[in-house]
């Protein structure tokens, strides 16, 4: 019997005879992946303002960057994750950091855009200029790696680009591999931009990249169809020729589709469904503890009862870590209690607290003898996990005389609420793309008071340690600073870490080549089927 696959194999074996014919055929079901997800992209331009989480997937698969993270095996198996510190060239053929460590020169590969135009240093500069100037998330993310001004990007010649560093920042190079600094066909974009120098409207609805996939059709809120770019040479040619990504809002429906074998791969199911799928054994579930991600209970250090550090510590001695891990995350996470007295150079890591009602009671008796009433806030969008979590916390705090009122607010409200920084207790999950402890604390506990410093924690001593760690080249000094600032927050507890959640993906057993990316969107380029 001649199947589609043997036909291709024959084509590969006798290129003169059969490749042309094989290439011309329409992709079959065996070469088509059906992905089901909660919601799809709201734009095709990840640099644009208001781009939603799934737009990262478009940037990842349809555009190229100068660099990409090197895949390394997931310790528990099932595929690959990435190494933050080992980078590979994507559009860059080679790169060289200057001896003074203050610039880096990139040599470009001979790559072409989907339009057929060659990728030049001018396009790279235009795209990076755009990322640092367009505002919103893109600009914030670029700045996180000290990429702030267009003057930093210098075209040396058609195939050579130099990036001048503002300061030595170990996050500059990894930040070139995240989904924001992707390279756009600048001539095509400007031509269609209708006077807008950054072609915002046009790029929102059109892909002008050089990536491994093109968008064949995009119906917002319904489906996105990708087709392989057969001319892609920035890596091994992807195996899948066509990807259909359907937006299916109901997780129960997504689970049913997976169990029946009608969908190939599903992201974002509730932890309970993942656990059930693993137990049933019909589909494969690959889990990666989200790097630099943790569920934390933020306790306001500026207003309300928790300005007293003893009460924050009392909470840390009372949170039922193990129960939460089982009842709200269904075991899909890593416990953050019972850690060593002296922290290690890692984040997140277990704090040295565990459930000890006696200690908690003593601390409350000393700081607030009569007990008190307070509120606990969480994002309704996370309710599947956060609701049982907050109920368990409420139950655990009641015997201490702390009465907790649970408040569940929808996503758009939640942002407004945490920006106010007046809520005494907030349950939130924050995950940083760049996996460095100082990066996490920079967002959540640093004196710059970003929106994610929910506890409104201000401590010049911590700021000094975090800043020093961020900009040092000295490994020993870095390790020392990390241990110091982690010890500090273990004592001070602006946030009680509860569990590091697992990022799970369910797929049919025939699907291989799973690649976890920090942006947590599917990378079709490595996936295989059959």
């Amino acid at each position: 019997m001649i199947t589609r696959r043997t036909a291709i194999a024959a084509g590969l074996a006798a290129p003169l005879v059969a490749t042309g014919r094989a290439g011309a055929q329409a992709p079959t079901r065996a070469e088509t992946l059906l992905l089901v997800q909660e919601y799809g992209p709201n734009s095709l331009d990840m640099q644009g303002i208001g781009a939603s989480q799934p737009v990262n997937g478009v940037a990842l698969n349809c555009y190229d960057r100068l660099l990409r993270f090197k895949p390394v095996p997931i310790p528990s198996g099932g595929g690959n994750q990435v190494s933050m510190t080992e980078l590979e060239g994507e559009l860059a053929e080679s790169w060289q950091v200057a001896p003074d460590g203050m610039s880096c020169t990139f040599k470009l590969r001979d790559a072409t855009f989907h339009s057929g135009r060659p990728v030049t240093a001018k396009d790279v500069k235009w795209s990076l200029d755009r990322a640092v100037s367009i505002g919103g998330f893109a600009t914030t993310q670029m700045a996180a790696g000290s990429l702030e001004k267009p003057e930093q990007f210098v075209v040396v010649d058609d195939k050579t680009l130099r990036i001048d560093f503002l300061r030595r920042d170990k996050m500059t190079m990894p930040n070139l591999a995240v989904t924001i600094p992707f390279v756009i066909d600048s001539e095509l974009a400007v031509k269609n931009g209708g006077g807008d120098p950054w072609a915002k409207d046009w790029l929102k609805n059109n892909v002008a990249g050089s990536g491994a996939y093109k968008v064949e059709s995009w119906k917002p809120g319904v489906e996105t169809i990708y087709v392989r770019n057969d001319a892609w040479t920035q890596g091994p040619l992807p195996k899948l020729r066509r990807i259909i990504a359907r937006d299916i809002a109901s997780p129960s429906t997504r689970r049913a589709l997976m169990e029946k074998g009608d969908a190939d791969i599903s992201y974002g199911l509730p932890p309970k469904d993942f656990k059930d799928l693993i137990d049933a054994g019909r589909v494969k579930v690959v889990g990666v503890p989200i790097p630099n991600g943790v569920w934390g209970l933020y306790l306001n250090t500026k207003t309300g009862p928790f300005t007293d550090v003893r009460l924050r510590q009392a909470v840390a001695w009372a949170v039922p870590y193990e129960k939460i891990l089982q009842a709200s995350l269904f075991g899909r996470g890593v416990d953050m209690s019972g850690g060593p007295e002296t922290p290690t150079v890692a984040w997140p890591q277990p704090f040295p607290y565990r459930v000890d009602p006696q200690k908690a009671k003593e601390l409350v008796a000393a700081a607030a003898p009569g007990g008190f009433t307070t509120t606990l806030l969480f994002d309704a969008g996370n309710a599947t996990v956060a609701e049982p979590m907050s109920v368990l916390i409420k139950e655990a705090l009641a015997p201490l005389g702390i009465t907790v009122e649970i408040q569940k607010v929808p996503g758009s409200n939640f942002r407004g609420e945490i920006a106010k920084k007046t809520n005494p207790m907030v349950l939130n999950r924050f995950a940083g793309w760049l996996d460095f402890p100082d990066y996490y604390l920079f967002w959540t506990m640093h004196g710059n008071n970003s929106i994610f410093n929910i506890a409104s924690y201000q401590n010049p001593e911590l700021d000094k340690l975090v800043d020093a760690a961020r900009f040092t080249d000295d490994k020993a000094a870095y390790d020392r600073d990390v241990v110091r600032f982690v010890s500090l927050v273990e004592r001070e507890l602006p946030m009680v870490p509860i569990a590091q959640p697992t990022h799970d993906v369910a797929m049919q057993k025939t699907i291989g080549g799973y690649q976890f990316q920090p942006c947590r969107e599917p990378d079709f380029r490595y996936l295989t089927k059959g």
Binding site: S250, A256, S412, R415
Partner: protein, 338 residues
């Protein structure tokens, strides 16, 4: 007739204006910060401020309203931030999906509920009457998302009779050329039997879910109104004159009993549009209901306003049609209105 139509349309204008104002104000009063939401994770206060400015949300409310009305007059309903598309385009592509599903469910409900209601009234206290009562009670007491999930579990997951609940078409089929936006009609018009079959298979379960919900009020009101008419003098006269039972029930009684049913139908249709929201979620149906809810959660004003406006217009048209239908069914109503 034409004059009634024009008169009726004119009286709806103040209602529409009211909808525009109230809906605009309501969306602004809602707590929630659009700019903060769309600034995404890790946004700085400056980034949020910049987005607020770009969306025009930093201006005073009267100015925002003025701009909204001006754009509305030009037929521009604004941009959705959740889908990134103009609201008008979104509604155009999604409204037919919701309408097709709702009408399908309604027709399905009618086909079952009318005979059931008539039978229950004619044979009071019989098995059919009890069945009618049970169906009606079950229909109103089961929440639609539950019925939906139950049907998916039974017919798709366990029995495998129904195709995957993936929306309006199988993922490997393509949509028929747009004529009405109703896939069932469009595929037939284009002569694509395969597409018709796929669309019918996809709509069957969500349609059934809605039908179960709609059955109850239609069956109950048919029964009640038939009972009233069957007890009337003219029915007794007809029977005494020796007309066949069939002729008495269908031609005389039912024709007279149908007015309250039509009124209920209008109400049921509007309930169904509401119930749609949950059914659309379960069956991944790309309709307006799920679209509006998602926009509401994100404090995305433009689609919410567009949705409410579209619904208001739909109800007005629906009520108008029902009024006109009254005149056709019972000529006395038409002459009284004129």
């Amino acid at each position: 007739m034409l004059r009634i139509l024009v008169d009726r349309l004119l009286t709806t204008l103040p209602a529409l204006a009211g909808v525009v104002v109230v809906c605009f104000l309501l969306t602004r009063v809602l707590p929630g910060d659009t700019a903060a939401y769309f600034a995404g994770p890790a946004a700085t206060p400056q980034a949020i401020e910049q987005i607020r400015k770009e969306l025009g949300l930093d201006r005073p409310v009267p100015e925002q309203f003025g701009r909204y009305v001006t754009e509305l007059a030009r037929g521009d309903l604004g941009q959705s931030l959740t889908t990134g598309q103009p609201v008008l385009a979104d509604l155009k592509s999604r409204l037919p999906a919701s309408a097709e599903l709702t009408l399908f469910g309604l027709v399905l409900a009618l086909v079952v509920a009318l005979p059931l209601g008539i039978l229950a009234a004619v044979k009071q206290g019989s098995l059919a009457d009890h069945l009618c009562r049970i169906v009606a009670t079950a229909g109103v007491s089961l929440p639609v998302f539950f019925t939906g999930l139950l049907l998916v579990y039974l017919f798709y997951f366990v029995l495998g009779w129904s195709p995957a609940p993936l929306g309006r078409l199988d993922s490997f089929a393509s949509a028929p050329p747009t004529l009405t936006g109703f896939y069932l009609l469009d595929s037939l018009a284009a002569g694509e039997v395969e597409t018709f079959r796929s669309a019918l298979a996809q709509i069957a379960l969500p349609g059934l879910t809605l039908a179960i919900f709609a059955l109850a009020p239609i069956a109950r009101i048919t029964r009640a109104s038939m009972l009233a008419v069957l007890g009337a003098d003219f029915v007794r006269t007809a029977r005494a004159a020796g007309l066949s039972g069939r002729k008495v029930v269908i031609t005389y009684a039912f024709r007279n009993a149908v007015l309250p049913v039509v009124t209920t139908l209008g109400m049921v249709f509007s309930f169904l549009l509401g119930a749609n929201v949950l059914v659309e979620k379960v069956f991944a149906w790309p309709g307006v209901g799920s679209y509006a809810v998602e926009a509401l959660i994100a404090s995305d004003y433009a689609p919410v306003q567009g949705f409410v406006l579209a619904m208001a217009i739909l109800y007005i048209v629906l009520n108008l049609l029902i009024d006109l239908a009254y005149g056709l069914i019972d000529p006395r109503v038409g002459s009284a209105a004129a």
